[in-house]
Amino acid sequence: MDRRPFGIALGMARRGTKAWITSPAFVAITLFFPLIFLAALAGGLGPLYQVPGFDYPSGYATFVFGFVVLQAAAFGGIFTGYSVARDFDLGVASRLLLGAGRRWELILGYVLVAVIRSLVAAAIVTAVALAAGVRATVSPAGVAAILALIVCLAAVSTLWACGVALRARSMRAGPLMHTPILLVMFLSPVYVPAALLNGWLASIAGANPFSNVVESSRSVLGGGNPDLLITFGWLFAATVLLAVWALLGLRRAAESY
């Protein structure tokens, strides 16, 4: 048993990151959806920029990038949830649960893996976006804000997916891990600014905390200086709630062994 502070979490992070970078398929799948969304939305929906009232001076590709970079972070968390489920399918999880003294560090380890994955994925998506002509005027403080958004979103999506995986303990729960996250993301201003949304979607997007996150990201990328207090307040609240969700799932999983 590792008695160093955070020794188990760091060990888990090392193991998960090594498994990720040594498997090209896992790396590819983490990058696949954000890059495809960036290409498809920026390339295919460009004419939406001509819609009257579309107010975002940095261009449609940058507008889309503000969403896609967060999507990369969320997918990092979802795929880490898949790793938890696979650990159960392969029987590794039972050994981890039996061997770890401070079991909560297992969750922290998975979150660290997701944060590393998300930051690497976001860096690659950003490099591709810049090479493809996305232009953003971001101050160093803005870069720090975007990085913090990525880290928080990766943690939130990992904790959700971990909670599901620890209860279902099977890869078959995959749709339950990604569908709610995708829904929350798409019930926000994805294709056009919030002001151009209509009907029920406008109401839901207005109440959806993720709308605040994506609008902050776009504002920072457009050189703006948004009030990030509410955004990080939402993310902090979601992290705390979902940490409880994941820890209760961990307790239930531990009781079953």
């Binding site: 495809i36 498809a40 390339g43 295919g44 979607l201 406008a202």
Partner: protein, 269 residues
């Protein structure tokens, strides 16, 4: 009645019974996975609802083909449904290979053609449920067929054909790999084809040349446009013919390849 005729009829009845039993089994197998079939029915409807509100501004664009964004967006719904269903049935076939069910089929007097046809029947039966679900949801959201219910047979025919086309590609992958996990790779592949098509924006309005070229080359564009034509322009023989011909070609070619693979698989045991 001659004994030969009676024997032929019995053989025919037995063959139909086998199609029915195997098809029913395939349907029952997916019915036991609510996460998969609920997703195949609900997810496309949810995305239709989101796209209607999120893309509503697009109808203000010059040369956008309709003011009714629900009628424009519903083409994607049918293709998205076909994708979910195709992955679901193909994964089920792969699972049957993994868990040894195909070994047992190989020992029974059942031909590869019967196995394939029964699966295709199950795909078509599920497609009918999806069509009803999507058409009703579309009508609730305001999508209506230009020439009314007279176009319904064309809608049903096209949607069933699209489901079969995507499913046979999945079957090919399942038979080739024999792995459910590998077969799931069909989802991202088709997901790309769905996004890089005219599903969200008419080809005539696309301003990025590379995207326009990719959408022109993508068969999914023509499939979406075939269904969309029923809702936006009314009976458009050329759009319907191109969409149907592409899907039919994929279905026939995919079925033949699947049959060859299936025969080889059954002969091995």
């Amino acid at each position: 009645m001659s004994a030969e005729l009676v024997s032929d009829r019995r053989r025919g009845a037995a063959a139909f019974e086998r199609y029915g039993l195997l098809g029913e089994r395939a349907l029952r197998a997916v019915a036991t996975e609510p996460a998969a079939w609920v997703l195949a029915l609900v997810f496309p409807v949810v995305f239709l609802a989101i796209n209607i509100e999120a893309l509503s501004g697009a109808s203000a664009l010059h040369d956008f083909p309709t003011d009714n964004i629900a009628s424009f967006a519903i083409g994607l719904t049918f293709l998205q449904g076909a994708l979910f269903a195709g992955v679901m049935f193909a994964t089920d076939l792969a699972r049957d290979i993994e868990n040894g069910f195909m070994n047992r089929i190989a020992l029974a007097p059942i031909s590869a053609g019967t196995v394939l046809l029964s699966r295709l029947l199950a795909v078509a039966a599920f497609a009918l449920v999806q069509i009803a679900c999507f058409a009703i949801a579309g009508a609730i959201f305001g999508a209506s067929m230009v020439d009314g219910p007279i176009e319904l047979p064309a809608l049903i025919g096209l949607a069933v054909l699209f489901n079969l086309a995507i499913a046979v590609v999945g079957f090919q992958l399942a038979l080739q790999s024999g792995s459910g996990e590998m077969t799931q790779a069909l989802f991202p592949i088709f997901f790309v084809l769905l996004l890089v098509s005219s599903a969200l924006m008419p080809r005539g309005l696309m301003d990025a040349a590379w995207f326009h070229a990719a959408a022109d080359l993508n068969p999914v564009s023509y499939m979406v446009e075939a269904i969309r034509s029923l809702y936006v322009t009314g009976w458009d023989a050329s759009a319907l013919a191109v969409g149907a011909a592409l899907a039919l070609a994929i279905t026939v070619a995919g079925s033949l390849f699947s049959l060859v693979r299936l025969r080889a698989l059954l002969a091995r045991h």
